[in-house]
């Protein structure tokens, strides 16, 4: 009597044999030699992938897109660009002359900001003095290029008056302690300012003469003011103010002395 296990074993053996035959038949399925050779040739001659990335023709747009998408880049990039463009404009405005689009930025934003950044009244006064001299240099440059028309001269003239007023005010604001540390600080600034103004006024007049500009005609024009005259006037004005101040201080000292004498007598 054949046991069930034996029957199963026999059946399994038969099935396994069938599987093996099936496997052998399946394994007969192959590519032809021609197909294999063609495929191999194609693979071996295929272009190798380069490690370097292909440049995207839309890289600029992608950059802008990423910028819009990524908040971190956005918040970093925008201030950076503002700083770069801002400093570029500031540098460009430094060499601008009246009539240039950057000139208002220079005289209304950059120079007042610099002035406010000065640490002491003395350096502020020196800076204001250098600005006034700068206006004269600008006038000379324009005159030399024969571009100094009435409007530009008026503009420079107004600025020069402003600088002189500010200088005068700043000199008055110099504290006594600072003044006492160097008694001649104010005098030096004023003398230098006066010299520079007179020199540049003379240079400007010379350039005008050289260019055959009709100075007298300009002077006759009611709306126009000659910048070289303004420069000289301002220089004298500052000098007079200093002289008055010295007189006042001398009279104060004399009065103090009299008061002290009276107190002693009493």
């Amino acid at each position: 009597m054949i046991s069930t296990n034996n029957v199963n074993y026999m059946q399994n053996k038969k099935i396994d044999k069938k599987i093996n035959i099936g496997v052998k038949e399946i394994k007969q399925i192959k590519m032809t030699t021609g197909e294999k050779n063609f495929m191999l040739l194609k693979i071996l001659n295929s272009p190798t992938l380069s490690n370097t990335h292909i440049k995207n023709p839309w890289s600029f747009h992608s950059f802008i897109f990423n910028l819009q998408k990524n908040r971190l880049i956005h918040y970093g990039f925008v201030p950076c660009m503002m700083i770069i463009f801002g400093s570029g404009v500031v540098i460009a405005s430094q060499k601008s002359l009246p009539g240039n689009i950057f000139y208002p930025l220079k005289v209304k934003v950059v120079e007042p900001t610099y002035s406010r950044m000065m640490l002491s009244k003395e350096s502020e006064a020196r800076y204001e003095s250098s600005l006034a001299i700068g206006r004269m240099v600008e006038a000379e440059t324009l005159a030399n290029q024969d571009k100094l028309d009435n409007e530009k001269e008026r503009q420079l003239n107004d600025l020069l008056i402003n600088h002189t007023n500010t200088l005068s005010k700043t000199l008055n604001d110099i504290p006594k302690e600072e003044e006492s540390s160097d008694n001649k600080v104010k005098d030096n600034i004023i003398i230098e300012f006066q010299n520079q103004m007179n020199t540049h006024a003379q240079v400007l007049d010379d350039i005008r003469e050289k260019n055959n500009t009709k100075i007298h005609d300009i002077e006759k024009d009611e709306n126009n003011t000659n910048i070289s005259d303004t420069a000289r006037n301002n220089a004298n004005k500052i000098k007079d103010e200093l002289r008055n101040e010295n007189r006042e201080s001398d009279s104060d000292r004399e009065q103090d002395r009299e008061n002290q004498q009276r107190e002693k007598d009493d």
Binding site: Q11, N12, K14, I15, D16, K18, I19, I21, G22, V23, K24, E25, I26, K27, Q28, I29, K30, M31, E35, K36, M39, L40, K42, I43, L44, S46, T48, L49, N51
Partner: protein
């Protein structure tokens, strides 16, 4: 160096190209498509060679690439949603061993027993089809099968044994 790489690649290609071709053919059931996928598989192997990438098991590598390319091919062919593929991937098409279409049948000489065995493999539970095919037809080890299917060696062995029992059972009905 270049010559060595080419020789090594040629050797692997000569030894394994037929197995990969069969593996692809029984899934896509189209000879031209199977040839295309086979070429793509070996092209990727060749590029890996060129880039000096380290490949621990070439057989596992090429069958894994083939499996992924077949999945991609099904996705394109069936134009079904990605979610649908993810949900039904294992059950529906990844383990499906299609019978070869008429045109291919004419060009490829497959005997009755071979066709019968493929038919029976196709009737197995989806998780057993690939392990059985790779183990008995392509003689891959359970470790290699595990690597290809992304499962452990033990899990691959279990699937092979269960699949074999299932296959025998299927074939026994016909013999009885």
């Amino acid at each position: 160096m270049e010559e060595n790489i080419t020789k090594k690649f040629e050797k692997i290609f000569r030894e394994e190209s037929d197995a990969v071709f069969r593996f692809c053919l029984f899934r896509v059931s189209n000879k031209e498509q199977a040839l295309d996928i086979t070429q793509e598989v070996f092209l990727r192997l060749w590029q890996s060679f060129k880039e000096n990438k380290e490949i621990l098991n070439f057989k596992a590598f090429i069958f894994t690439v083939a499996r992924h390319l077949i999945i991609d091919w099904y996705r394109k062919k069936k134009s079904i949603s990605l979610e649908g593929i993810m949900d039904n991937e294992k059950e529906n098409f990844e383990y499906k061993y299609d019978l070869i279409d008429e045109k291919t049948r004419d060009s490829i000489n497959i005997e009755a027993e071979g066709r019968y065995l493929l038919d029976k493999i196709n009737k197995l539970t989806p998780t057993s089809q690939n392990p059985i095919y790779l183990r008995f037809v392509e003689d891959l080890s359970p470790k290699e099968i595990g690597n290809i299917l992304g499962i452990s060696e033990n899990a691959a062995s279990v699937r092979i044994n269960r699949g074999l029992l299932e296959l025998r059972k299927e074939m026994r009905y016909d013999n009885d």
